[in-house]
Amino acid sequence: MQPATTTDNDAPARRLNGDLIFRAITTLFAFSILIILAVMLVEMASESLPSIRKFGWKFITSSDWDAVQGVFGALPYLYGSVVSSVIALLLATPLSIGAAIFITEICPKRWGTLIAPLVELLAAIPSVIYGLWGVLVMAPWLQSSVEPFLIEHFGFLPFFQGAPYGVSMLAAVFILMIMVVPIITSITREVLLAVPLSQKEAAIALGATRWETIRIAILPYGKSGILGAAILGLGRAVGETMAVTMVIGNAPKISLSLLSPAYTMPSVIANEFAETTSKLHGSALMEIGLILLVVTLIINALARLLIWSVSQSAGGGAS
């Protein structure tokens, strides 16, 4: 602290100091984002080193995961993550785009202003609650009605063979779909709202029907933004932990059948990381975490670039 004897001459210097300190603090805190990101990557990478050294590429090509023997291969978890997220996204994207178009372009404005915040509110429901509903309501329903139906009528396909367990890859796909739909819908809606009115008016002036207006004027304009929204949804699905852990059955099997239980990368971390049996076990889980982190970083970076490009070009067009 400054002594109380400062004269007026010191005032500008003190003032300057205050500004310098302020600038230093704000700079440090802003850079904390980069620091957090760096610390995450470095910590995860260094903790994974023992596992990377020991198993090399075999880690992602082998299916042996045996904590007692000290052998770790993560293929079933990779498989489960990829299959559950990709199928969920394939189901969720068309639904979300349809809903977003309906909200912004088709239904009366008053409905739109009612449905849109509702969808956003639903995007904020914690994943553990989706999981609770998934394991206590949806999985029993799948077991008693949907899966027997699929087995009876589509059982000849390899995707619908085996017994109806309820908790299964199918349950994970459904719960992920339900969870990413609000996210993709609300971002797609924002992208569609950014389409200039002149685009639409031009199509209408040419005599286009409403669907033709949407197809030739609105969708092409928002294309990359919608793609970004879908990729962002993929990132969410890949990293989703609680809900999937609760409904997928947690069995490290690679099976073509959607009815069989499976396992994902975040789920195995959630289930085993607090009670690792050896250093190597912890390191193997860290390596799964590292793969997950790098994959989601790439997915999110791609999605943000696409969404940013739309919002910037829209901003440029308006000025």
Binding site: G18, I21, F22, R23, T26, T27, F29, A30, F31, S32, I33, I36, L37, V39, M40, M44, E47, L95, S96, G98, A99, F102, P117, V119, L122, A124, I125, P126, S127, V128, I129, Y130, L132, W133, L136, V137, P182, T185, T209, W211, I214, G235, V238, G239, E240, T241, M242, M246, P266, I269, A270, F273, G289, L292, L293, T296, N300, A301, A303, R304
Partner: protein, 278 residues
């Protein structure tokens, strides 16, 4: 050649119907989740929920009072760490940040808010749980703070940027130092918008479970020491939902109802703050 008008019109109606169906398919499962939380939650909720701790396996009754205290404490601590960092960082981006580094920070914040929250739990584990030789509420709070920072940073920055430059210039022309201008003029005029961002960030971490799994760990009993494992509502919902006891399922539903109610009130308050700006 264009198709005939009748075909085009039919196609228009078909696509409209399909999009209506898509909207229904989006809203129906979400409505059902909401319905079940309400139905099961209200029938399971009792005064005990707010005053008792969970009973041992086999006994009926009990509540999640310890989880509520734990969630409250950890969210409070996470806010103490995360809010200043997020808000001051946002001031840097809005007031000083024009260059490439700032774009990089913005981009990193957006990317960071999309990384799986279980990763923050693993990082907090290696940074705090391992050196401190035990699971702790502090580690849980740090993991939650890491999730809050990028959210608060981005929303606050956007609000600060909307404050007209003339307001800053007026303050600076009066001889007010930059730091006072930033805090007392710029931040203050954007306060309602900043509050919205804060409330949304708090709502987001209130429901986080994965980052607490190997940091706060959970606790069947009362625990208020920061260096000890601590209970949290989302952790209890998870543990009770996957347990095979009907009575625990009921507690989980009640917990879900309380959690959703708190989060929705936070979101609605945030919306209110966001609106009063205009």
């Amino acid at each position: 050649m264009m198709h005939s008008v009748a075909v085009r019109k039919a196609k228009n109606h078909l696509m409209t119907a399909l999009m209506l169906a898509a909207t229904a398919a989006v809203l129906i499962p979400l409505g059902m989740i909401f319905f079940h939380i309400m139905k099961m939650g209200f029938s399971s909720l009792s005064l005990d929920f707010f005053t008792q701790i969970p009973k041992p396996t086999g006994e009926t009754g009990g509540g999640m009072a310890n989880g509520m205290l734990g969630s409250f404490m950890m969210i409070g601590m996470a806010s103490l760490i995360g809010l200043p960092v997020g808000i001051f960082g946002a001031i840097y981006l809005a007031e000083y940040g024009a260059g490439r580094t700032s774009t990089a920070i913005r981009f990193a914040a957006d990317v960071l808010s999309g990384t799986p929250s279980i990763i923050t739990g693993m990082v907090a584990y290696t940074l705090l749980v391992v050196p401190m030789k035990g699971f702790s509420a502090l580690a849980g709070a740090v993991a939650l703070a890491m999730i809050m920072i990028p959210i608060v940073l981005r929303t606050t920055e956007e609000q600060l940027k909307m404050v007209p430059g003339s307001l800053r210039e007026a303050a600076l022309a009066l001889g007010v130092p930059i730091w006072r201008t930033s805090l007392k003029v710029t931040l203050r005029s954007a306060l309602s918008g900043v509050m919205t961002g804060i409330l949304l960030a708090v709502a987001r971490v209130a429901g986080e479970t994965a980052p607490l799994l190997f940091t706060a760990l959970g606790n069947q009993f009362w625990g208020s020491k920061l260096t000890q494992p601590m209970a949290a509502i989302p952790l209890q919902i998870f543990n009770f939902a996957i347990a095979p006891y009907e009575d625990w399922h009921r507690l989980a539903w009640a917990g879900a109802l309380v959690l959703v109610t708190v989060m929705f009130s936070l979101s609605l308050t945030a919306r209110y703050f966001g609106r009063s700006r205009h």
